[in-house]
Assembly symmetry: C2
Homo-oligomer: 605 residues x 2
């Protein structure tokens, strides 16, 4: 049982944080950027989401912090730094939640102190002053009390908005892609009063999920997957089945009053530099429509552009060939032969589905894969932040998102390595049997496991929900250490000279960079100017340097004016949509948004 | 700023409650019902929802408590009474939240002590042991990890349920009426695993709201209106517009996976005493269907059976005549003459709507009306339990519902009278001007205002959202202290000999008792056997005695086997649906449910 006392925080840990914040604020107020930077340890970090930099930016040393402050302090006017809750001390680190404000915004942050100096600081924008969301005590009335001969009802206003937006009025932002990413961002824009249209090719919201193979469930657990504003109720299953998520998203679009244009394709976009707006050609339910939004957000997801290898002889194949994104079900393949090229998430899921339908399945593994059992992942990697236990310990979804963001990418792998070492130990039996079956395993170049692979390259892993066992025990055959040489009319030829007959070939060969969507929609020039999306520049496999410190081009200004990329898993979409929305709102309202630290573009894709 | 300490509650108020609970439990364990009853003050109350009585029952004296315990204690086996949170002391009363259990269930309660004895005790069932809802840590997995050649996906299982239930399998409960009441109850039944079908005549869930007059908004504020399990997000407007609530309910039915049969009418029901089940004839999308549920729940609402007076000459009228429930909009009545018979909620809303559309409107007031301004009501009557301030003070929706239920009906008016005295003072100007305009005002027979009128008679008031001003300032004409004598081809003749020309007559004449639905669906005999629904037996206007202590026939066993009535406003539907669902679940699982204190039936309607 617990008691709540109303009294000032006055424990030693909180005092230490308050003392640090006072010195920090004094230095900032005095414009003494050197003194402010000197309050960080030499290996200290400051990650900022918009409050100082109008960017997502990690400064990775006192020198970088000083440079950032030199550039940003004059326009930021930060003040009123204070501790928001009692600090906690453990293992020589004091950590605390903080609040602060700038000339234009309010901020929420998280700080870790070591020996009285700051080791990590996360500062994030929560709201723009004067443009707060209308919620809680500030919510709208709904009914206008009193009588008014010209009142419009909610329905009439909603119908008018839908009739006008995109026809007689233009959206400020056009979001391409109406999956969880586009809808969550749409909801944030709606609540901030940013006129937006979300277009999606599918007939209904949620169809992105409904149209996938039938056994698909989310691979991340429910606590990680909430949409902004409207959390799942507490009976929602741990792993949402795809159709259930589809229904939730459809409902979400409706009750959040999003202006979704479904059954709509974005065909071409071009920047009108005179009017400083995009000219976007769309086909909506068969009809041509032109929109002129100021901002274009590509929220088509990490898995938008299938990576389909051109293989010699592919056109001669007599059976069916599909990319994993087009695969629906193994129901027509009972007793038939299927070859699945690839050994990551989709490959395993599809092999499992084909096996369940009685197909004779062979997985082709071309390079090593990291396998993390879902249970182990939930317990070891996510449990501290996203679980019932975390909720019971007061780690709300908002706090979990912040804590996740509070560890700089530069050192994130150090926290991940022990997690996966433990996983390796715990699931040794499965790993051993997989290797005996010929499966090539890895845990990332540095043993840092799944989430780092996801951030660095967005591929190379399987969250095992059961199908690894099929490979380990030979139910699904494995052919590894080969590449595909040629497709014949009846099967697949490999680099080792062997051949497999096939009725079905599934290319579980992944997806290419999101800027491929910019190439498709706008032009190759613009895609090249934006450069590669995603990845940290870690120099590990498929993540070429130089080091970037943040994910390339995601949720922040790009090298192309008014072009944005939004996406990621449900956790990232939820958290980062907030900052995309605030950046757009600030621009809509004419609030100056000087961007600090826009990176150079090093890779085209 | 607040600190949470993990230590036992040890303040004086909590100690007093703990001491009382220990004495109480000792008496119950010893079977000493006299000693247990003696722990209550002589004007003490014990209100029980299911835990001891399998009924909603208020015992209004130590003697009644002793009698109840004598009957129920042998089968209840109550134990483990303990304080759930620190107690609070104010004005000589110590109040606390408590937990306890019985042989079959867990309970949550609220207690108030006066001079060391119990003044009010509320005990409510939260869950049946062994039949807990699957939520939080006990939620379903969603994905079945592992591989299984015969697995069914969520969608397949859902489709199978929809295909079978009502066809090859029978629902355990059939809920007639798919408004907020039926849907909320349906959600509770779903989560408890009670097979149920909810039928509604409208094409889509939410159409009950969509089909009403266009300016309609909820008259209660958002904090009062949440549905079970899925609260509105925090930007939801204070007063939900009708179409927005309609969309929410449609979404709710979908994501809660309710088996709603829309476009379905229940035509006739009959009890099959041999098979102990109902035989219900329905028309579903034009086709005849027979269902055989064990239980029938009428959730058609307080406003299901329009009260339409038969007036001499009505058939000769050349204009349009509608009951308020059929009224849609005044848009065709600009410049025309409308007569609205009645002076309660619907009458005012419709007069306002007609006036806004430019009609020449006259309200006919036959008897006095209680008017409570919405703002005043929110602040004075609901604010302590249902508001942002209440939430900030830790009064969650669940706690607010419990606190509302914790004050016995017998003394509720005593708490209400000062609220309305203050309202009378605060809004004196409006009341004075209404009376000057000829309007007959009241505040209930004993000055206890709106909520008591609602409980006692379900009528006689207007929650003023603006239209009272139209009557006060003469924009809407008023004719009061008259009754309608006759309808002529061109207008209305009154008891004072006067006559009004009319193009439209609206009968805002209210609704009859919910057992009218039993008459319509089953038989007049059954309706008479059930007797009047709603009302407390207070002996005040339209609420004839004898005193009942609970609302007649609502949410509890009736005089007719396996026939239930569910309804009320959103707050009542939310809270009491829990107890209807638990009663049905217990019966489904064969848990003994000996009902204590079923009242006699005194009034047929």
């Amino acid at each position: 049982m617990s008691i709540t006392l109303d009294r000032p925080v006055a424990d030693a840990a909180s005092d230490a944080v308050t003392a640090w914040l006072q010195k920090f604020e004094a230095a900032l107020t005095a414009g003494d950027t050197k003194a402010a930077a000197a309050l960080f340890v030499t290996d200290g970090f400051w990650r900022d989401f918009l409050t100082f930099t109008w960017n997502l930016k990690t400064c990775e040393s006192p020198a970088e912090i000083e440079a950032m402050l030199n550039a940003t302090l004059p326009t930021t006017t930060p003040k009123n730094f204070h501790i928001a809750e009692p600090a906690e001390a453990a293992d020589g680190i004091i950590s605390a939640w903080i609040n602060f404000e700038t000339a234009t915004a309010r901020g929420w942050g998280q700080i870790r102190l070591r020996d009285g100096l700051c080791w990590t600081l996360l500062t994030t924008m929560t709201e723009l002053k004067g443009f707060e969301e209308k919620r809680g005590p500030a919510r709208e009335m709904g009914a206008e009390h009193g009588v008014d001969r010209h009142r419009k009802t909610w329905l009439e206003r909603r119908q008018q908005e839908q009739a006008e937006l995109g026809h007689t009025t233009q959206p400020y932002a056009l979001v391409i892609g109406g999956g969880q990413g586009g809808l969550g961002l749409g909801a944030r824009l709606k609540r901030l009063g940013v006129p937006a249209i979300i277009v999606d090719k599918h007939p209904r919201p949620g169809d992105q999920w409904r149209s996938r193979y039938k056994s698909l469930c989310l691979h991340d657990p429910v606590w990680y997957d909430h949409m902004p504003y409207l959390p799942f109720p507490d009976h929602w299953p741990v792993f949402s089945p795809k159709d259930k998520i589809g229904d939730w998203l459809e409902m979400y679009a409706k009750v959040m009053e999003l202006n979704t244009w479904n059954a709509t394709t974005a065909d071409h976009a071009e920047w009108d530099d005179t009017r400083k707006e995009w000219v976007v050609q769309l086909t909506r339910e068969g009809k041509q429509v032109t929109l002129r939004p100021k901002h274009l957000v590509l929220a088509t997801g990490l898995s938008a552009i299938p990576n389909l290898p051109t293989t010699k002889g592919a056109e001669t194949f007599h059976g069916e060939q599909v990319h994993s994104s087009q695969y629906k079900s193994g129901q027509n393949y009972a007793g038939k032969k299927a070859v699945v090229i690839g050994s990551n998430n989709s490959a395993f899921d599809i092999c499992g589905d084909l096996w369940e339908h009685g197909a004779d399945v062979t997985m082709i593994q071309r390079s090593s894969t990291h396998i993390a059992r879902s249970d182990s992942l939930m317990e070891l990697a996510l449990g501290g932040l996203y679980s019932e236990a975390a909720l019971a310990a007061g780690v709300t979804t908002d706090k979990a998102d912040m804590l996740f963001a509070s560890v700089p990418y530069k050192i994130l792998h150090e926290f991940q390595i022990p997690v996966y070492a433990e996983m390796k130990r715990r699931d040794a039996d499965l790993y051993e049997r997989l290797e005996k079956a010929g499966f090539m395993l890895d845990f990332g170049d540095d043993g840092s496991g799944l989430f780092m692979k996801y951030l660095r390259r967005g591929s190379g892993y399987y969250i095992d929900v059961g199908a690894a066992e099929l490979v380990a025990n030979g139910s699904v055959k494995l052919k590894s250490r080969v590449t595909v040489e040629e497709i014949t009319p009846t099967g697949v030829k490999f680099s080792d000279g062997s051949e497999l007959p096939a009725d079905l070939i599934v290319y579980a060969t992944g997806y290419s960079s999101m800027n491929g969507w910019a190439a498709k929609l706008i032009s190759q020039d613009v895609a090249d100017k934006v450069g590669k999306c995603w990845g940290l520049g870690s120099g590990t496999t498929k993540d070429p340097g130089p080091w970037e410190g943040e994910l390339r081009n995601m949720w922040k200004p790009t090298a192309v004016e008014n072009l944005w990329f939004h996406g990621g898993n449900l956790h990232q979409s939820r958290h980062y949509s907030k900052f995309v929305a605030l950046q757009l709102k600030a621009r809509l309202e004419g609030i100056p948004t000087p961007v600090y630290g826009k990176p150079d573009v090093h890779h085209k894709a």
